[in-house]
């Protein structure tokens, strides 16, 4: 992968004025690959995309495309075309003129441009709309015109800067699949910036999670979802529930002593355990077991059991969502049957859905890094 990378970023630093936005970004992207840059707002993902596009110059590092150094080249000499978050269509030109503008700049003949524009309109389902101004198009149609404008010049690399964030939630779901299908059909190398975890998961071959200007984790959607490398990534990928635990660990084995909030447990992890001591246990609200404390069940290993009390129950659709108070914090637990508020309960978290990290030295383990962020998927999920 590293040797035949089509687009490679090496040790990229970038910033505005004195503020450093990106630090030491190393990234290899294969030809035809669809990579999502995922992170909360302010993490540097748009700066990274703009640096790749050539709208911002890195203060250090190099960018190569197909073995050619493009670090200092202007945006139009990199073989890349960008779709902007605002679409940035030219309001005084018709859709067809918008799509054909790049070809006009290349000095194509009028008939050749018309043929290519017609091809793009057909490809994107814009037939019959070429004569309209952007103000006469719907959001989804504008988005497709912006995509057509970028694709018309036949770029080597397509850059997408949150292209779906201005669309209605329902249209967004279909456009995701349309863009992904189009990308696969054209086999075009694509980098997609988004703050929407699910969008990144369903569209990308690989996801790059950015946190404070650094790559927090890089991998396939499945790898990142099931094996988050840090508490930040776990939280970003939906493991918002967090409880502190004391554990003795060796190799893959974790032994948790009984405490006021949990029962004793011994787990075998499928990956090396963190160092012994104070741990931060993270898990999603799905695939948990919730039962009354007074109901006995066959105790088997491979799970931790937390003791708490139901505070609230809501029905967001599918399963009942319980807010369970455990010590000073609370967790969300989805369960097919509702337990009334006030019930003393046991929350059973199977080892396969449990992510253990060394507790941060500064601050309580209960603080989740992205829950306070307006744009975090966790927040959206909680308020959904």
């Amino acid at each position: 992968m590293s040797d035949d990378a089509y687009l490679s970023l090496k040790d990229i630093d970038a910033g505005y004025g004195r503020t450093r936005v990106l630090e030491g970004i190393d990234l290899m992207i294969g030809k035809g690959e669809f990579v999502a840059l995922l992170g909360a707002s302010g993490c540097g993902k748009t700066t990274l995309l703009r640096t790749i596009a050539g709208f911002a110059l890195p203060s250090a590092g190099s960018i190569r495309v197909g073995g050619r150094d493009v670090t200092r080249l202007p945006p139009d000499k990199r073989g890349m075309a960008m779709v902007f978050q605002s679409y940035a269509l030219w309001p005084h030109m018709t859709a067809a003129r918008n799509i054909g503008y790049g070809l006009r700049l290349k000095g194509w003949r009028r008939e050749a441009i018309a043929a290519r524009v017609a091809e793009m309109e057909a490809l994107l389902g814009l037939g019959g709309l070429g004569g309209r101004k952007p103000s006469e198009l719907s959001g989804g149609q504008r988005q497709r015109v912006a995509l057509g404008r970028a694709l018309a010049v036949d770029p080597d690399i397509l850059l997408l800067d949150e292209p779906l964030s201005n669309l209605d939630a329902r249209i967004r779901l279909t456009v995701r699949h349309e863009i992904r299908a189009l990308q696969q059909r054209l086999g075009i190398t694509t980098i997609h910036v988004t703050h929407d975890r699910e969008e990144a998961m369903v569209m990308a071959d690989r996801i790059v999670i950015l946190d404070k200007g650094r790559i927090a984790q890089l991998g396939t959607p499945e790898a990142i979802y099931t094996r988050p490398a840090s508490a930040f990534v776990a939280a970003f990928m939906g493991a918002e529930n967090v409880v502190p635990l004391d554990a003795a660990c060796s190799g893959h084995r974790v032994d948790i002593a009984a405490g006021p909030l949990n029962r004793a447990a011994g787990l075998m992890l499928d990956r090396p355990a963190p160092p012994s001591g104070r741990l931060e246990a993270r898990f999603r609200s799905e695939r948990l077991e919730l039962r009354r404390l007074d109901v006995q069940s066959a105790a088997d290993g491979g799970a931790i059991e937390l003791i708490g009390r139901v505070e609230a129950v809501v029905y967001p659709g599918g399963e009942w969502r319980h807010t369970v108070r455990i010590g000073d914090g609370s967790v969300l637990v989805d369960c097919p049957e509702a337990l009334p508020p006030g019930s003393d309960v046991l929350v059973r978290v199977p080892a396969s859905g449990l992510f253990l990290f060394a507790a941060p030295a500064d601050g309580p383990a209960g603080a989740s890094p992205s829950a306070a962020d307006e744009n975090s998927p966790a927040r959206e999920r909680l308020t959904a």
């Binding site: 945006p75 605002s86 790049g102 700049l105």
Partner: protein, 272 residues
């Protein structure tokens, strides 16, 4: 009570406009048609006989100045928006507004000494060997008037235009750059078309302002043909001929109205 409050609050402004603006304007318009106690077109035929050349001169001079002002304002606004040399942009941003704060009469005075036959411009050109002292001529004719108007009005239009350019979606500029458009093409094909309305407002306001300037033609172009404003002043101060002065005023108004009509037409088309 509440129904009366609205008109009551508006009335002072309304009365001021009526008394100080509408009444004198109406009196001037009526006065333009008054010839020795009767109504007729006598003042207009006189204005036509004496001043046709000046009317055409005024329209051409002001029109030319408006076009040049527009081009310079676009150039300044364009550089402020698309310029990549930060120091140059900062200097230009600081420098270009100054003429706005200088009155027309001072502009006239400054340009008299600058554009005269032995003025600063010619002496500089002679000093650099670009001009033979014997062929040096004064620029204090129509050219001087145009220079004065453009020098004074460009900052105002540039201020409006660069403000409009600054508030454009930067993405529309970057998208064009991304596809390989040069800065000049971006200015002409992407930026200017998006600020036409603002540009036209600035130019129409400049046009009307220049139509009414008296000091510049008096100081720079004290010869025939001259501008309508100088003729109006002459009719009033020398002959106390209010009739022809009013007729000339109405003709200026008509020329300004053409500019306003042009602006309204473009505005309507944009709004649709």
């Amino acid at each position: 009570m509440a129904r009366l409050l609205g008109p009551l609050l508006v009335s002072p402004a309304l009365i001021v406009i009526l008394l100080l603006f509408m009444v004198p304007l109406t009196a001037s318009v009526i006065g333009a048609f008054e010839v020795e106690g009767a109504y007729g077109l006598g003042n207009f035929t006189k204005a036509y006989d004496f001043y046709t050349q000046d009317i055409v001169f005024t329209a051409v001079i002001v029109g030319l100045s408006t076009v040049l002002t527009g081009l310079l304002a676009i150039a300044i606004g364009g550089y402020l928006t698309l310029g990549e040399n930060r120091a140059a942009v900062a200097i230009l941003r600081w420098l270009y507004r100054w003429p706005m704060f200088i009155p027309f009469i001072v502009v006239g005075q400054v340009l008299r000494t600058f554009l005269a036959k032995s003025g600063l411009l010619n002496s500089t050109l002679v000093a650099f060997g670009l001009l033979d002292p014997l062929t040096a001529t004064s620029y204090l004719d129509w050219r001087g008037v145009v220079v004065a108007f453009v020098w004074k009005q460009t900052p105002f239009v540039a201020l409006m235009v660069s403000g409009a350019m600054a508030s454009l979606d930067r993405g529309t500029i970057e998208a064009a750059r991304n596809l390989g458009a040069s800065r000049l093409r971006i200015l002409v094909e992407i930026v200017v078309p998006q600020v036409t309305t603002t540009l036209l407002v600035g130019l129409v306001l400049s046009f009307v302002t220049m139509m009414g300037v008296l000091s510049v033609p008096l100081m720079i172009n004290a010869q025939a043909p001259t501008m309508i404003t100088a003729d109006i002043a002459f009719r009033l101060s020398t002959y106390r001929d209010y009739g022809v002065a009013n007729a000339l005023g109405l003709i200026s108004l008509a020329i300004s109205a053409v500019a306003a009509w042009f602006y309204l037409r473009v505005n309507m088309r944009q709004g649709r």
